[in-house]
Subunit: 210 residues, 2 copies
């Protein structure tokens, strides 16, 4: 499979959903599925599904459909879930604690290595056996530990500063929960979870009936 | 302004970002801004900005730019932020507590009315002076209280059941944090925050360098 093929962001954004549905099918012991059945479950058209999956290789088989495990494994590989990642959480407030406690991320291969906070009342407390460290020690920590992913859960006003420490110390991927758009050096990957943007989208829909 | 005009979902999804940036400009006492300056800050092209804002009315003025407060107020109105909403949180785990504690939502007009959980150890505990109620009392609560928005923060396996109780009792909008896609009756608005989908998108990007 050509990992450098140019895939549109729209297709990439749909891949985790395929992964989630295939994982459920596997849990329910479904061995194979037609694009039509998958379409009914997942809510994309069958032709959309065939088109999406064709971006990555030749998965389906005429008259047989998709082998669920094979497709699941392939999509896991495409998503990079065939390796492990080291992760640190910055900010141990509500969202930081929620991310740190969400063990499903660990099952996907994202291992929580450390949590940092500025609040002396939180420093020393353990979340899942991992002690919250003082954020002043972040830079030193990063010099001694190879970290793939930083999860930013600090308030907006501190987010860019924390992000800069991460990127200057070779953390190449940022998962950002602060309601700001971060400036990062070229070659850094960022993905935002902007809760209030999501709520405002819903608020728009609530006020504009079809 | 014609509230029923057909606006594409792509434009709608950009509106909260305009709202966020204009709010920051107001905080910094910026009275007016050209589409070029706004473009530099927000990262959309100036022509994209003009096109987006033209969907909703005639905001800019040649040679003057946008009046920040006026534009902010207009976009707030379009997003439905000129009224208040009543909100309940279902599930008082990490994510539920994070949402319940996030006072910014209240500033936007979303008032937290009640929190429900199935865990007897959590029932009775207060979050921001709001007592966590037994989820078995949800249906009765909804019969006696008009609720605009239900925030689903329960595990996947219970999400559809809780969603059904909400929609059967006239809750028209669902903000869903459970990693499942919910079935809702026509006329119900849903917006999903799928954290693991977001993480997997990032994981894809980490493995497919430009």
């Amino acid at each position: 499979m050509d990992k450098n093929k140019n895939i549109s962001m729209a297709v990439i954004k749909r891949l985790p959903k395929y992964h989630r549905y295939l994982s459920d099918l596997l849990k329910n012991d479904v061995d194979r599925i037609s694009s039509k059945e998958l379409s009914r479950k997942i809510g994309f058209t069958a032709s959309q599904i065939r088109q999406d999956l064709n971006c990555f290789g030749d998965f389906g088989q005429q008259g047989y459909g998709y082998n669920v495990r094979e497709l699941y494994n392939q999509i896991s590989g495409i998503l990079g879930l065939d390796r492990e990642y080291s992760m640190v959480v910055l900010g141990a407030g509500n969202i930081g604690q929620a991310v740190a406690n969400y063990t499903y991320f660990e099952k996907l291969g994202f291992e929580l290595k450390a949590i940092f906070d500025i609040n002396p009342k939180l420093v020393g407390i353990k979340i899942r056996d991992i002690e919250i460290k003082d954020i002043d020690t972040l830079e030193e920590y990063l010099k001694n530990n190879e970290i793939d992913l930083g999860v930013i859960c600090v308030p907006s006003r501190s987010a860019q500063r924390v992000c800069d420490i991460l990127t200057k110390n070779d953390v190449k991927s940022i998962w950002n929960f602060a309601p700001v758009d971060l400036q990062v050096p070229e070659g850094t990957h960022t993905e935002n979870v902007h809760l209030s943007d999501s709520l405002l989208t819903l608020s728009y829909l609530m006020n504009h009936e079809e």
